[in-house]
């Protein structure tokens, strides 16, 4: 019995056919339609009562089904809300869906089951206008409060040219500023304590410590943080909406810019989902090239984090050394891909070109050069006693809290859970590599730093194995859905010829279905959930980014600390705003 069948049996026994209907998807994640009225009991069962529970709310999002060409499929619906849960015991995802009818439907909130559902539900409300009954603070989250309409609804325009010219006249500035004013009462915050006034201080959007346009409103008693309210969305570019008007192929460069420090790692997450839909199995050489590039970007991203973290704590120099090393990585990336931060180099079914001559020499040089530097940084930063004083015991969360809030990646491993998607649910051939999963026990800022520092060493190990065992072979799959398909095959089989023609005239056409990928990205787990209704562009592209739930947790872990500690916590979190806002 497969895990999916086992899960289906368990749920059917408990709830019966009337509540659950199973659906087949391209990614083999157990998928069930749940009657709208029964979603809460099912979720509560899965979280708490099931013998092998699903404690992590991995993702929550919606689809506008109204113009889907295959929307006749069961059940009838106008909107769908999708829940992704993960079980650590089973090492398995589950996907639950509820069907909603009506123009502006509503569903029940999950916030009492998972605190992390709050932001996800706000996002669904913001993007689709679906209301969640009982949500403590259902307000727009990514779009400005003054926005008209809900962008991911199909009737909402996708291009600026459909909306009339943008003008920012004075009154509009005033309305926007008014909307930005923070009203403590709305968030249930007091303005005064018994003997003093609280100070409400904006950290951001224009602040050197936030690493981007993030706004955190602090409720301060002296310099002690009583509460914090993150305000995100300043970096929102509508990446999911863009997916709906880009072709499957031309969407790749947009993914580069989601976690803009992760480069091609974003391509990989997207392509894994698309390749599942298209049924493409990529050649070994492609897998190893992809792994190598991803690990280079992991090191590059961690170096940026390392340097800026030290700088947040007032240490000015490390960031310069680390950016110098990052340049060395970019030199290799540039030699191989031609690009640097956003190479847009992976393709559906392969990579853009084969590795250039002499790539192995460059990589070998870096492998010889980098460990010495890491040791130096370790002495400079990690062993510095002031650095330790600023990070040890600051911003602690336990493993249970981390799972409750949807923390993934290094932040999760810093709490002592040895869980790395590259090992647990290997993709792109990670099962063939030898590497360790660094963990730490205390879940404080220092431990998160320890984990990331060790990860760089492991990444280097993986790159070394790539270098030594790079397989020979093609750099693109000969599957006819590969984009663009191999030219030599077009003269041989009609499928490839048709696809090549479609590719050139419209863009690739990906078979109907839905699939999710999940990779261990630089900052945590990154997923693309792609829905195809057999068209030249995705019907829906959902991007699950790690930074989003991490930022949601900020108020919870920063209460009781000081403004200075907030910077340690933010720095150790390792987020990028583009990853939060998409």
């Amino acid at each position: 019995m497969t895990p999916t069948e086992k899960l289906a049996t368990e749920l059917m026994l408990k709830f019966g056919d009337s509540v659950l209907t199973q659906q087949q998807t391209a990614d083999e994640v157990a998928t069930f339609w749940v009657a709208k009225t029964h979603i809460l009991p099912v979720l509560a069962y899965l979280k708490k009562e099931s013998p092998e529970p699903f404690p992590l709310l991995y993702d929550l999002f919606a689809l506008d089904e109204r113009s889907r060409s295959d929307h006749k499929t069961y059940p009838s619906k106008d909107f769908t809300v999708v829940y992704h849960l993960l079980s650590f015991k089973r090492n398995q995802f589950i996907r639950l869906k509820i069907a909603l009818k009506g123009e502006y439907p509503s569903a029940q909130t999950l916030t009492h089951l998972w605190p992390s559902a709050s932001w996800y539900e706000r996002e669904v409300y913001d993007m689709f206008g679906i209301r969640f009954e009982g949500h403590p603070h259902l307000q727009r989250i990514l779009m400005p409060l003054t926005w008209q309409g809900h962008p991911l609804r199909k009737e909402h325009p996708a291009r600026a040219t459909e909306m009339g010219p943008f003008k920012l006249w004075d009154e509009k500035v005033d309305t926007e500023q008014d909307a930005l004013q923070f009203k403590p009462e709305q968030w249930g915050l007091q303005r005064h304590s018994d003997d003093a006034d609280f100070m409400f201080l904006n950290i951001g959007p224009q602040h050197p410590g936030t690493h981007g346009v993030l706004r955190i409103i602090l409720q301060l008693d002296g310099e002690d943080i009583i509460d914090a309210v993150p305000d995100i969305g300043f970096h929102h570019r509508g990446a999911e909406k863009m997916g709906e008007r880009q072709s499957w192929h031309t969407y790749i460069p947009y993914t580069d810019r989601i976690d803009y420090l992760g480069g091609v790692m974003n391509n990989l997450a997207y392509l894994l989902a698309v390749e599942k839909l298209a049924g493409i199995e990529v050649p070994d050489r492609v897998k190893v090239i992809r792994v190598m590039m991803c690990e280079f970007f992991r090191i590059a991203s961690h170096l940026v984090w390392y340097g800026t973290f030290a700088q947040d704590l007032g240490q000015l120099s490390p960031v310069f050394y680390m950016f110098t090393d990052r340049e060395k990585i970019f030199d290799i990336v540039e030699a191989i891909t031609g690009g640097r931060m956003h190479p847009n180099w992976f393709r559906i079914g392969g990579v853009a070109q084969d590795l250039p001559n002499g790539w192995d020499k460059m990589v070998a040089e870096f492998i010889a050069y980098f460990p010495k530097r890491l040791k130096e940084y370790h002495n400079m930063v990690m062993r510095n006693s002031i650095f330790k004083a600023r990070t040890v015991g600051i911003g602690i969360y336990t493993l249970e809290e981390a799972i409750e809030w949807g923390v993934t990646g290094p932040g999760l491993r810093a709490c002592g859970l040895e869980w790395d998607m590259r090992k647990k649910q290997p993709y792109s051939g990670y099962e063939n590599f030898e590497f360790d999963i660094p963990i730490a026990q205390n879940g404080d800022c220092y431990d998160r730093a320890v984990v990331r520092e060790q990860e760089m060493i492991q990444s280097l190990r993986i790159i070394e194995q790539c270098l030594k065992h790079m397989p020979e072979g093609p750099y693109k799959s000969d599957n006819s859905h590969a984009t663009p398909p191999l030219k030599k095959n077009t003269m041989q089989d009609i499928e490839t010829l048709i696809n090549h023609f479609l590719n050139v005239s419209w863009g690739p056409v990906i078979p109907k279905g839905e699939a999710m990928s999940c990779i261990e990205a630089t900052k945590g787990w990154n997923s693309y959930y792609m829905v195809s209704d057999g068209n030249t562009s995705p019907y829906r592209s959902r991007i699950r980014t790690p930074s989003f739930p991490h930022m949601q947790m900020l108020p919870y872990i920063s209460k009781g600390y000081t403004v200075a500690d907030l910077l340690s916590i933010l720095g150790s979190m390792d987020y990028v705003l583009a990853d939060i806002d998409r």
Binding site: Q181, S193, A196, D197, N202, G204, Q206, G222
Partner: protein, 124 residues
């Protein structure tokens, strides 16, 4: 110059120095006041708070957590000053002076240990 002549001879240069320092500051600030441009824009009229309009006023009753430490500071600073004259004369005061100062310091340290035990310095 009358004022200067009344000062003890030693301090006249200090007064000179003071005038020169003030002169430098005033001249510099006046010069930049005169030659700098004057442009008024509405953005300059509000305090900087990360690009969002300021809420409320910066001047309001707020809690200063280290208030107790500040009071202790005043006490200690006064007590510590007694050591200055002793330090400069301690050769003349000899063993006896040393013992007296020793006693004084023990009292000081006792007080110090007391406030640490009381947790007055832990204001987190």
């Amino acid at each position: 110059m009358l004022l200067l002549e009344q000062l003890p001879v030693n301090y006249a240069p200090v007064a000179f120095q003071f005038f020169v320092a003030v002169g430098f500051v005033v001249v510099t600030m006046l010069a930049t006041h005169l030659i700098g441009p004057k442009r008024k824009t509405s953005d300059k009229l509000t305090p900087f708070e990360s690009g969002v309009e300021v809420q409320g006023n910066a001047r309001h009753p707020m809690s200063v957590k280290y208030f107790l430490v500040a009071i202790l500071f005043v006490l200690f600073d006064v007590e510590v000053i007694f050591m200055y004259p002793w330090a400069v004369n301690f050769r003349e005061l000899g063993i006896l002076g040393m013992l007296e100062m020793f006693t004084f310091m023990i009292f000081l340290l006792l007080g110090f240990i007391y406030i640490i035990k009381k947790g007055a310095l832990n204001w987190e």
